[in-house]
């Protein structure tokens, strides 16, 4: 044994050295920020607070109990750091650019600076860290008890020592003091604590050296290397197949998650990081540190199993082995190693957590209930510091309570894994937040809350045994005897051990809700903006928030806040001199964002936003800007869609133009044709008029009969000429729509009757029979009655005129079909040859008949008129012979006038 006062003295001296190092580190950091304190080596050593007394004592215990399983706790982080290029680099860069103060700050900032999310993360982290701190207290207390046990260490390790809670209490109190003195002397920008980093780097060296010394001593004391070292290997090591089951994978996953999500790991890895080169070195140096720490764990465990009496606590082999051999110096070094690992963990954890508590729970509440002293800058700062100090005491007290309540039955590793599973609940939101734009704040809250609840129920609460909340029967048989609700076998899944079981269910609930709720909800505009900044951190330069969010605030009031939180000298740097003179000066968006950014580095993004919002009088989000910032691919997609649409429109327009051009050419050609036809038509009667008038003039003594005949011819030709010109004029007026049009509802049957009457004389002269078949009754159409009659006359007279049949017959049939008035005029003449069918509706087209009398404009004019009615005039497909014209006109549309009485 070692005398208690010697041990305490050594510890106190050691602590004093740490103080000195921390002080020197802080002073040096203030003078020269690029010095050795921010070297990659110190950074890596500070990350190795991952190795706590769980590692120092517990790894050996775990190796003695479960063989190689202890390696998982170091393989997980090895993979994460070796794969830094994929995830850690992004995380650290975001933390560095956005001055992140804690994991709660990062998650809440990513999801729209959501205060509720920050508070939730803080609470989860707080509860999850309690077992971890209890673990350190337990290890410290047990190691102290063993090293100072009056009957000798071997006996001490052999009997179940009741934990000495008074020792534990004093240890906890000492840790509080140390953490407060170091961690929260000032609130400085960035929350970086270089003094503390220096101290924990020293502690990292001490614990590594201590474990290596014990290891080398153990190995050198056995002969026949290397086989001798494995002489007492347990079955789990010799036949290790059972080690690599689901538990192996789960533990690797948990350890990998914990090295990112544990508040203290986040603090040293992300918050204290100052350059990428630090991380570049740590990517291999930290795994190398872990490798060295683990190198002698197996030999020490095996030596302990072989040399110490069976039943000895394997968690203390590191200490009891040298003690049992009388190596007091090595034992003291081992004790100091354990002391280092425990204290550094508790200090950094409590600093990180106290920042989270003050930024995400105390400050928002104080702001909400106006408890923040506004009197002076000094008071505001001391309020924040007070909150942090109180938080540290609270955190360590919570750890002590867990230690007291849970009893001490479990191995160190088992207690630590409970914490790991708790903080792993941040992983989905953290990873999702960094890579998935669509992730929303509600999704994150739902996921973390659900995972936390499952973890509490399935792992945390049962870990107290029956001493807290849950009774032993409830743990064994489920609440109210409900088998499927057993904490260790939810829904009957009991083929895994309690840890794997809790990880499976909590992660399942967490990820499912995170993804599901994210898909079902829309992010707030600010969250959308933040997601862009975070997800695209490598792609784009950070633009000021002012481009999206327009806020109005007075410079004087902003200055006041900055003064209070940052201190006068810090605030002065933010405000260009002289702006404070005018009390009503309005701050630019740029300045407001800058102040918020700087405040965020001290009190967290959510709180900084709340503080700035308290003096902002109006806030508006520019929708256009947000749209502009919308997902880049979305933009490109929208742009290309627009291009496509434009080109389609252009194509359509070009096709339209082509069609129009073709139509114009056609019309032009028709016009030319028309002109030449008109000249031709006019020329024939003119020629005959001229020649007959010539004859009359040159032969004044013509017989009266001849003279009379010639004059009649001249008159007939003139009449024909007039008809022709009338027809052309008609057609022209019709085409230009200037023809008189008497539009009103009328009965088409009446027009037809009139037309037939007027054609009767013509029919009689040509000996053509006219027959009226079926007729439509009570039909009303819209349009000009006279014009329709004109069409009918034209059709009927054509039918009469061109009928060469022996017993010529014209048949007229009318009906209402498909909502339209339909008239069919057919004859039993020769019909219209196939090649002429299209041509007959053209101008100056006449039937291929010898008895030509018309101008050849009748059908063209008729078609124009029918078009004007909105109907069609067509030649029916040839049936039994003869021609049949079909005229269709839509019925009158006004129902009131449809049935005139």
């Amino acid at each position: 044994m070692l005398p208690a006062d010697v041990v305490i003295l050594v510890c106190l001296v050691y602590v004093l050295i740490l103080f000195a190092v921390a002080f020197a580190g802080d002073r040096r950091a203030r003078k020269d920020q690029g010095g050795w304190l921010s070297s990659p080596l110190v950074y890596t050593l500070s990350i190795s607070i991952y190795c706590t007394s769980w590692t120092f004592f517990g790894a050996v215990g775990s190796a003695a109990r479960n063989g190689l399983e202890f390696v998982t706790i170091y393989l997980g982080p090895t993979i994460v750091f070796v794969g830094w290029w994929i995830f850690l680099r992004k995380l650290v860069t975001i933390g560095r650019i956005h001055h992140t103060t804690s994991i709660a700050d990062l998650i809440s900032a990513r999801f729209g600076k959501n205060p509720a999310l920050g508070a939730l993360v803080t609470v989860v982290a707080l509860v999850a860290t309690a077992p971890y701190i209890a673990l350190q207290l337990k290890a410290l207390t047990a190691s102290y008890q063993v090293i100072t046990f009056h009957a000798g260490a071997v006996t001490a390790a052999n009997i179940p020592l009741a934990p000495d809670y008074s020792t534990a209490f004093w240890v906890a109190a000492g840790l509080c003091v140390f953490s407060i003195i170091f961690g929260v002397r000032n609130i400085d920008v960035n929350e970086r604590h270089q003094g503390v980093v220096a101290a924990i780097a020293l502690e990292a060296v001490v614990k590594l050296v201590a474990l290596l010394v014990v290891g080398i001593w153990v190995v050198s004391s056995v002969g026949d290397l290397p086989a001798g070292a494995f002489a007492h290997a347990p079955v789990s090591l010799l036949d290790p197949e059972g080690t690599f089951g689901t538990r192996w994978v789960t533990l690797c996953f948990l350890a990998g998650a914990a090295v990112i999500c544990l508040p203290r790991q986040f603090q040293v890895t992300v918050v204290e990081n100052s350059s990428e080169s630090q991380l570049r070195t740590a990517s291999w140096l930290f795994p190398a540190y872990l490798f060295l720490i683990c190198l002698f764990v197996v030999p020490i465990a095996l030596a302990g199993l072989g040399r110490l009496p069976s039943g000895s606590n394997p968690d203390l082999f590191v200490l009891t082995l040298p003690l049992s051999a009388g190596q007091d110096t090595i034992a003291m070094l081992a004790f100091l190693g354990g002391f280092s690992s425990a204290t550094s963990m508790v200090i950094v954890s409590s600093i990180a957590l106290s920042t989270m508590i003050s930024n995400h729970i105390v400050m928002p509440l104080a702001l909400r209930f106006s408890l923040v002293p506004e009197a002076s800058a000094q008071m505001m700062r001391s309020f924040i510091l007070g909150a942090r100090r109180a938080s540290i005491v609270f955190i360590i007290l919570l750890g002590f309570l867990y230690f007291r309540l849970s009893g001490t039955s479990e191995a160190l590793a088992a207690i630590g894994l409970i914490s790991f599973c708790g903080v792993a609940q941040f992983l989905p939101s953290l990873v999702g937040g960094l890579y998935w734009r669509r992730a929303t704040e509600r999704g994150a809250i739902a996921g973390i809350a659900a995972g936390f609840a499952v973890w509490l129920y399935a792992l945390f609460l049962p870990s107290f045994g029956d001493s807290f909340v849950m009774s032993a029967t409830m743990i064994r048989e489920g609440p109210w005897g409900l088998e499927w609700l057993r904490p260790h076998g939810l829904f009957g899944l009991d083929r895994f051990d309690s840890l794997v079981h809790a990880v499976i269910w909590s992660m399942l609930a967490n990820i499912t809700l995170f993804v599901g709720v994210s898909l079902a909800t829309e992010p707030t505009p600010l969250a959308r903006y933040q997601s862009r900044l975070f997800v695209d951190v490598f792609r784009r330069q950070t633009e000021g928030e002012f481009s999206v969010i327009r806020r109005i605030a007075r410079v004087a009031e902003l200055r006041q806040i900055a003064d209070r939180v940052l201190g006068a000298s810090e605030a002065l740097a933010l405000f260009p001199g002289g702006t404070a003179r005018d009390p009503n000066a309005i701050a630019s968006d740029d300045l407001i964002s800058q102040v918020e950014h700087r405040l965020g580095a001290s009190v967290g993004a959510a709180t900084a936003r709340a503080l700035v919002s308290s003096v902002v009088t109006s806030e508006s989000i520019s929708v256009d800007e947000l749209k502009r910032l919308a997902d880049e691919t979305e933009q490109i997609r929208a742009y290309s869609a627009e291009l496509e649409r434009n080109s389609r429109q252009l194509e359509a327009a070009a096709a339209e133009l082509t069609r129009a051009n073709a139509r114009l050419r056609e019309i032009d050609m028709q016009k030319d044709d028309f002109l030449s036809q008109v000249s031709h038509e006019v020329r024939t009667p003119m020629t005959s008029i001229r020649s007959f008038s010539d004859i009359l003039l040159s032969n004044p003594d013509l017989p009266a009969g001849d003279m009379d005949r010639y004059l009649r011819i001249i008159q007939n030709e003139s009449l024909r000429l007039t008809r022709l010109l009338d027809g052309i004029l008609d057609l022209n007026r019709m085409e230009n729509g200037v023809m008189g049009w008497d539009g009103r509802p009328f009965d088409p049957e009446a027009a037809l009757d009139r037309a037939m009457e007027s054609c009767e004389a013509l029919a009689k002269a040509a000996h053509v029979a006219m027959k009226r078949r079926a007729r439509a009754s009570k039909v009303v159409v819209d349009g000009d009655e006279d014009r329709l009659a004109q069409v009918f006359i034209n059709l009927i007279s054509n039918a009469i005129r061109y009928n060469t049949s022996a017993s010529p017959l014209v048949t007229v049939t009318t009906a209402v079909r498909k909502g339209a008035y339909e008239a069919r005029i057919s004859d039993n003449g020769p019909g219209i040859p196939e090649g002429e069918r299209d041509r007959i509706f053209a101008k100056f087209a006449r039937g291929p008949m010898p008895r030509q009398v018309g101008a050849g404009l009748g059908l063209a004019i008729s078609r124009q008129i029918v078009d004007r009615f909105g109907g069609t005039l067509e030649l029916a497909s040839p049936g039994g012979g003869g021609a049949e014209f079909v005229l269709t006109i839509p019925l009158h549309t006004n129902p009131a006038a449809k049935r005139p009485s």
């Binding site: 920020q33 086989a227 002489a231 291999w284």
Partner: protein, 85 residues
């Protein structure tokens, strides 16, 4: 210059692949091959395998990190990042 760029890209790819290779090496099923109850010079094979693979991964990470040069993007970030205290 071009050569260096190519080398850098290769290193980046290696950095991205390395963690996945590590996972394959230390997770079942591959690890079962070495989980047989066999000892080499008195040391269980699985101990040699795990620690050997671990050391190899660290060595690989060291080599990769030495070859990785800060990309253009990182330089840009560094330039834009506000003055740190």
């Amino acid at each position: 210059m071009k050569n260096a760029e190519r080398e850098n890209r290769g290193a980046r790819d290696a950095a991205a692949i390395l963690p996945f290779v590590s996972v394959v090496l230390i997770f079942p099923p591959l690890v079962y091959i070495f989980a047989a109850p066999v000892a080499v010079a008195g040391v269980p094979l699985i101990v040699l395998y795990l620690f050997g693979v671990w050391a190899a991964i660290i060595l690989a990470a060291y080599l990769v990190s030495r070859r990785l040069k800060p990309g253009v993007e990182d330089a840009a970030i560094r330039a834009s990042s506000p003055g740190r205290r």
